[in-house]
């Protein structure tokens, strides 16, 4: 996976641009999508509470990696969505959290693996590993540079359009 900052900045750029076409998708909803872009990296909870320690303590297998899959982000998005006040905001939140976390999985889907196939991102639907072009590794600095530039360009255009169109 790329670093979380890159995922969050790219989600900002993507949802801000989509917001130009969808009137309700303003900044307060774009930030919900940015939060969704963090979800697959909640696997790093393993740095705080190790999988092995949980497995040994409970006597059952446990792997945080499940959170960086389709099944994991669906459940995490649903958890986030129920914390919104009305049915309408819950649906919007679910859609944006899922879209944000899906953008993360799509970007992860093209990172480098030595055998040319990715992790099992479709779990639990399938353990199939998509072929990857191997465009980057997570420590590549150019990924963050690209994300920062994308976010700044979109922010500048958004500011200009907002001023031009009189939107708040």
């Amino acid at each position: 996976m790329a670093d979380v900052l890159s995922h969050v900045l790219l989600a900002f750029a993507v949802f801000t641009v989509i917001g130009w076409a969808i009137s309700w998708l303003d900044r307060e909803w774009a930030v919900v999508g940015m939060v969704g872009a963090i979800f697959p990296d909640l696997t790093r909870l393993g740095l705080v509470v190790d999988d092995y320690v949980i497995a040994q303590t409970l006597g059952i297998p446990f792997d945080w990696e499940a959170l960086a899959t389709v099944g994991g982000v669906l459940l995490l998005s649903a958890i986030g969505a129920v914390l919104f006040p009305s049915r309408r905001t819950q649906l919007r939140a679910f859609g944006l959290l899922l879209a944000g976390s899906s953008s993360h999985l799509v970007i992860d889907g093209v990172k480098a693996y030595a055998d040319g196939a990715n992790g099992a991102l479709l779990y639990p639907l399938s353990w199939w590993r998509n072929p990857t072009p191997g465009w980057y590794v997570s420590s590549d600095r150019w990924v963050l540079v690209g994300a920062v530039v994308s976010a700044l360009v979109v922010l500048a255009v958004d500011r200009y359009m907002m001023a031009d169109s009189g939107r708040q």
Partner: protein, 168 residues
């Protein structure tokens, strides 16, 4: 959705998420096409003659490759492997993925493809640091636009006045 139903729904979804992590942990070894560190430790010669993908921490560079350690679930060294046939630019403490054939009771791997995940320990710190920044950015922006109503356990929109912005 009232407070009690929201709490129940979030609790059920959290249990399902934990269940997904348990299922992933229980089924990973059967579905991942390559040996884990635990499997290599239990059956060192079990994959001799097979092409496998391994993740390892570089211990030293050699004339024709490198020496890496592969960990088990507990984080202990499961196998020390001499990788031959790579000139990958990586330092001691770096992390690599190696795809190639194992031999000599899992102690020699002939590299067909190597991906340098972390060139050195500094790359790992870089990823952790930028990821922490990403979480802070997303959480900070979210809390700028959404408040938490703890009594009813839900997010609520902040008004422009709450954010210190002015209409117009």
């Amino acid at each position: 959705m009232n407070h009690h139903r929201r709490l129940l729904a979030a609790g059920l979804l959290l249990v399902l998420t934990a269940g997904l992590c348990v299922h992933y942990g229980a089924t990973y070894e059967d579905n991942w096409p390559y040996p884990t560190g635990d499997q290599l430790a239990e059956e060192p010669a079990g994959w001799d003659g097979e092409r496998v993908l391994l993740f390892g921490e570089v211990q030293e560079r050699t004339g024709s490759g490198l020496v890496m350690t592969v960990d088990d679930d507990a984080g202990e060294v499961a196998r020390t492997i001499t990788v031959q046939g790579t000139a990958a630019d990586v330092e001691r403490g770096g992390v690599v993925q190696v795809y190639g054939m194992l031999s000599e009771r899992g102690t020699i791997q002939q590299a067909e493809s190597v991906v340098v995940v972390n060139r050195n320990p500094g790359d790992s710190q870089y990823k952790l640091g930028t990821s922490a920044l990403g979480v802070l950015l997303a959480a900070g922006l979210f809390l700028r636009y959404w408040g938490i109503e703890w009594r009813r356990l839900r997010f609520v929109r902040r008004s422009a006045d709450d954010r210190g912005e002015r209409d117009g």
